[in-house]
């Protein structure tokens, strides 16, 4: 994605000035030798697939909270969203680069702030209605003014005029009890439908990951008439209208979701699956058995107890994931407010032993917080490796030789067997290396969240899954008073670096700034104790083609098909 971006910056240096006037602007978002060259790679070799039943059954892992893209937050929903709606751009199934979606091409201004999308003229909704630039404008307005859209900030924090509109909306809501109007949105926010097929978005900062954002649920278009007719329940199969390669045929909660090809999809000829059934089975053990028994073709997780068995099978896959498992230190507590104490606690943890002997799930031990992200040229800092001697020394320097004078430390985690095992292992390491007393305490999920949010803990287990493929989704968390900071930690230099990175256009320089920032966290100040990077593991049948491993665990359904078994 970013290679393309920097290329574009050169290519369309002037294009941003003329898109309104020019009939067919020359700066072309997909300006490779031939626009669809990349796509040929994903075509089947021959027609043998036509002899096979093209029906996919997979387990998405839990009941989707909603199929309304504006309100989605979780992974299971977003997985299904890929079939049901399509944004301005889509992700390449293998490289995750931006590929044409509703927009057949796009241009970026040289300051990286103005994106002009040229929507394809044959873009349609699943009921046959034409899809217009205005649909995006209204859909985004809807997200920002929806009372229950968690990802609204992606829009109002990114787009020019967004923050002002947000303020206006809050004030209007408080005084009149109603949302700010769409007319106001159109006046205030720079997400403009220039004409039915041209959509121009002006950003506050040159947001490197903006195209990635347009692939997210919150930025997907919705069919205005359908949504307005029944704002809460339009996602039922009876009323559903979408623009994705597939459309909703049946949604039977906690049982299954059935999708069939959308005949009005602009690329309907490319779509090969005839039916997709998504199951919401939460019990991974059951899902695994179903897979072994041939009842499902693809499961998106493997029960820890079954991993040994799964690894022996050819259908097993594992890949790094955009998620980090770590511990928070409450730096406002006495003793823990000492940098050396936190560093010693971090150095005393043998992460390899935790991933190899405790979780045994193929996790990647990490002394850094943000996983490497290729698209953003980001390689995380090294951090400090396991070093018990140095840890002891640091602890003594901090005033607790052999752990003397250090009060009992409590590790707080949400009740779960895996978290418990990790906590026990770490407690043991701290006891042995530093000679301190460590206790464990657990609570049910919501209680745990509440306690962490109120900073009512000493050391707390945590996990973080990136929202988009950019280090920012990890690193802006530690800004002073950041909504998810919850450690009490604050560092001026860190804040500066993050703000600078936000405005930086050059991707390499930006990555450098972010790296410097993360170094403060994992090599100097230690408000957190990183443990490992999550992995995605699952099973998929051999015959399933067009499915590629990628860090987002994103598998667009239009590429999938079954090949005859050999």
């Amino acid at each position: 994605m970013t290679t393309r971006l920097s290329l574009l910056v050169l290519l369309v240096a002037f294009a941003a000035w003329i898109p309104v006037l020019a009939d067919e602007p020359s700066g072309d978002g997909a300006s490779d030798a031939s626009p669809d060259a990349w796509k040929r790679e994903y075509e089947p070799m021959d027609d043998s697939w036509k002899t096979v039943k093209q029906e996919l059954i997979f387990n998405t892992g839990s009941e989707p909270e909603t199929l309304d893209p504006a309100r989605m937050t979780g992974v299971p929903e977003h997985r299904i969203q890929l079939a049901l709606t399509e944004g301005l751009v889509t992700a390449d199934p293998e490289t995750l680069e931006a590929r044409p979606g509703v927009a057949e091409r796009w241009e970026v201004s040289d300051d990286g702030k103005v994106y002009t999308f040229h929507l394809r003229k044959d873009a349609k909704w699943s009921n046959g209605d034409p899809l217009r630039a205005e649909d995006f404008s209204w859909s985004w307005y809807r997200v920002v003014t929806h009372s229950d859209a968690d990802y609204a900030f992606l829009i109002y924090d990114t787009i020019e005029g967004g923050p002002a509109f947000r303020k206006h909306h809050i004030e209007t809501s408080k005084s009149t009890g109603k949302s700010a109007s769409y007319e106001d949105w159109k006046k205030m926010v720079k997400a403009e439908a220039i004409d039915p097929h041209t959509f121009r978005v002006t950003l506050i900062n040159p947001t490197a990951y903006f195209l990635d954002l347009t692939m997210m649920g919150a930025l997907q278009p919705v069919h205005r008439k359908t949504v307005e007719a029944d704002p809460d329940r339009w996602t039922q199969s009876e009323t559903w209208v979408g623009n994705g390669p597939f459309t909703l045929q049946e949604w039977s909660p906690r049982d299954k979701i059935v999708m069939v090809p959308n005949k009005h999809y602009w690329d309907a000829d490319f779509v090969k699956l005839k039916k997709i059934t998504a199951l919401p089975l939460e019990d991974q053990d059951v899902a695994y058995k179903k897979f072994i028994n041939g009842e499902v073709h693809w499961i998106t997780a493997v029960a820890t107890a079954k991993l040994d068995d799964a690894r022996k099978r050819p259908e097993y896959y594992v890949m790094p994931y955009l998620g980090s498992y770590f511990y928070r230190f409450n730096v406002t507590r006495e003793h823990l407010n000492k940098k050396k104490v936190r560093k010693a606690l971090s150095l005393a943890v043998n992460r390899k032993s935790i991933t190899n002997d405790v979780t045994k799930a193929g996790h990647i031990p990490a002394t850094y917080f943000c996983p490497p992200i290729e698209q953003a040229h980001y390689t995380p800092p090294k951090g400090y490796a396991y070093d018990p001697d140095k840890a002891r020394k640091l602890f003594a320097e901090a005033g607790y030789p052999g752990g003397k004078g250090f009060p009992k430390l409590t590790i707080f985690y949400n009740s779960n067997d895996d978290h418990k095992k990790v906590a026990e292992a770490i407690a043991q390491m701290w006891r042995e290396t530093l000679g301190i007393q460590v206790a464990l305490q657990n609570s049910e999920w919501k209680v745990y969240l509440d306690e962490v949010d109120n900073m009512n803990y000493q050391v707390a287990r945590a996990g973080w899954i990136g929202d988009f493929a950019d280090p920012m989704t990890f690193l802006d968390m530690w800004l002073t008073n950041g909504g998810n900071n919850n450690t009490g930690w604050s560092n001026k230099r860190y804040d500066e670096l993050i703000y600078k990175a936000r405005a930086e256009l050059d991707m390499k320089k930006r990555a450098q700034l972010l790296l410097e920032a993360e170094k403060i966290v994992v090599e100097d100040e230690f408000p957190i104790l990183p443990l490992y990077i999550y992995v995605n593991q699952g099973m998929k049948v051999d015959g399933l083609q067009g499915w590629y491993e990628n860090v987002r665990d994103r598998h667009p359904f239009q590429y999938l098909y079954f090949e005859p078994e050999e």
Binding site: I170, E282, K446
Partner: protein, 497 residues
């Protein structure tokens, strides 16, 4: 507005006529009123008045507010006048006040049919059942015809009428029907007994509701607590819109009024925008199907094994079946379930590992067996114990001495005694099956209510959890009540106690 119940005040039609006929019966009683008859008249007045007000409020339907008000609005003052004529006003005020509250809660369901049932019940309670006894004496033999008519009518309402309301409304009506029938079929004693039992139900329900509401709201975290906390101002806006910022007692009052007014149990936070009524209606079907099949299976297996064990005490069969029963009791479902799957779905592929398609189907077999086993075991042990107790009774010995065949002795004399403990067990068992099959639901991927209940509580999905507490509470109370009534049929001693 819809709600759980099939009828709205908008169209009274035939039901309205029936309702007015019922009121007519009230008149005739009130005219000759003294004491309890006056009480009945008062209640009828209260119900009619509530109805009048409600129909006024429900004026958003096809009819205007005034249209809705006219009928009951005219009738109720007449009833009040009759009631005043019939008895001392001051005596009646506490009862009236109490029942107005009750009526506001239940009457607002806008279900004329249910109102009728409730009217009958309230009157029944208020008159200690004498109203019915009087009716029974006056109508005499004709009552049997009335029974049949009532039963057919109720069954019709249960299975034919509930257009769109699905299973929940149907169940409600079925319970009401069975209950009313039981009352009609019995005499004064039985009625008084049922009244005693019935009086505690609203109190129990109220305690359950208040407690669960307070516990839910005071538990740390809320429906929107998540790992990724968002924009605080926008969050505040959302909570304001959802009414989550009000004090809990205000929320409780709002909740109760809404539930009572329209039968609307709210909307799920987690399953965004999905109405709780729909959640219940959708998921109670698999739960009920599973519960029904399982309990039938459990009763069949358990009773047969228990009876044989009881007759052939200390035989090989006795030891064998009781050992199996012990194992059945001891093995938790999360062991039995996966084992059955391993054996019959993986090793021998008779069934799918999980799924719930086009029931009745093979998908039902394994979960039903898994769920039925512990209940069958318990029933077998209860039956056996009951049999043993009866077999040694004098009258059984007398029967033997008279030379009756063993079959006759078992069927005629011992079975009824043996059945008693089982009956008292089945009520709670059904309730337990409906509510507590979470594990089986998970193992077999069944979209039932247990998962919704647990997830509702864990996610702080207030309305879902409360809706299910309400449902389960009602089911439990009703199930126990039915058992008590049936018990009363079978064992006269209970009625007199």
């Amino acid at each position: 507005m819809g709600g759980l119940f099939p009828f709205e005040f908008g169209d009274l039609g035939v039901l309205g006529l029936v309702y007015l006929t019922l009121l007519g019966a009230g008149f005739s009683l009130a005219v000759t009123a003294d004491g309890w008859r006056a009480r009945f008249a008062w209640q009828a007045a209260a119900v009619t008045f509530a109805l009048a007000v409600l129909r006024w409020g429900a004026g958003d339907g096809d009819r205007g507010a005034w249209d809705g008000f006219v009928g009951p609005g005219i009738v109720s003052p007449i009833l009040v006048w009759l009631a005043v004529r019939a008895g001392d006003v001051r005596d009646r005020i506490p009862a009236l006040a109490r029942n107005v509250v009750l009526l506001v809660l239940i009457g607002m369901t806008r279900d004329v049919y249910l109102i009728m049932v409730l009217l009958a019940l309230v009157a029944f309670v208020e008159t200690d059942g004498r109203w019915h006894a009087l009716l029974a004496r006056r109508i005499g033999p004709g009552l049997r015809g009335a029974h049949v008519f009532a039963l057919v009518f109720l069954l019709y309402c249960t299975f034919v009428q509930p257009h769109g309301i699905g299973f929940v409304g149907g169940l409600f009506h079925l319970f009401a029907a069975g209950f009313l029938y039981a009352l009609l079929a019995q005499g004064e004693q039985m009625a008084a007994y049922v009244v005693r039992r019935l009086r505690s139900a609203p109190i129990v329900m109220a305690i359950i509701l208040v407690l669960s509401f307070v516990m839910m709201r005071t538990a740390p975290g809320g429906p929107y607590t998540s790992e990724k906390s968002g924009d605080p101002e926008m969050e505040a806006l959302r909570e304001e819109r959802m009414g989550l910022n009000d004090p809990w007692y205000e929320q409780f009052a709002n909740y109760m009024v809404r539930v009572a007014w329209s039968g609307d149990l709210g909307v799920s936070f987690k399953q965004k925008g999905r109405p709780v009524n729909e959640i219940i209606a959708d998921h109670i079907v698999p739960s009920a199907q599973l519960a029904l099949v399982s309990i039938t299976l459990a009763v069949l297996i358990g009773m047969v094994a228990g009876i044989i064990s009881g007759i052939r005490q200390n035989s090989i069969f006795d030891y064998a079946s009781m050992s199996v029963a012990m194992i059945g009791l001891a093995l938790p479902t999360f062991v039995v379930g996966p084992f059955l799957v391993l054996l019959f779905a993986m090793k021998y592929q008779f069934f799918r590992v999980s799924g719930w398609d086009d029931i009745p189907s093979r998908d039902m077999v394994l979960p039903a067996i898994t769920l039925a086993l512990p209940f069958a075991a318990r029933i077998a042990r209860l039956t056996r114990a009951g049999m043993l107790e009866i077999v040694n009774q004098d009258y059984v010995r007398t029967a033997r001495a008279k030379g009756l065949s063993e079959t006759t002795i078992v069927v005629r004399h011992t079975l009824k005694g043996a059945v008693l403990p089982v009956v008292s067990y089945i009520g709670p068992a059904i309730a337990q099956l409906l509510t507590g099959s979470l594990v089986v639901e998970k193992i077999f991927g069944i979209p039932g209510l247990g998962t919704e209940f647990v997830q509702g509580a864990l996610n702080r999905d207030y309305d879902v959890a409360m809706g299910l507490v309400l449902l389960f509470g009602t089911l439990l109370i009703v199930a126990n009540l039915i058992v008590d009534v049936v018990y009363g049929f079978l064992d006269p001693r209970i009625r007199h106690a």
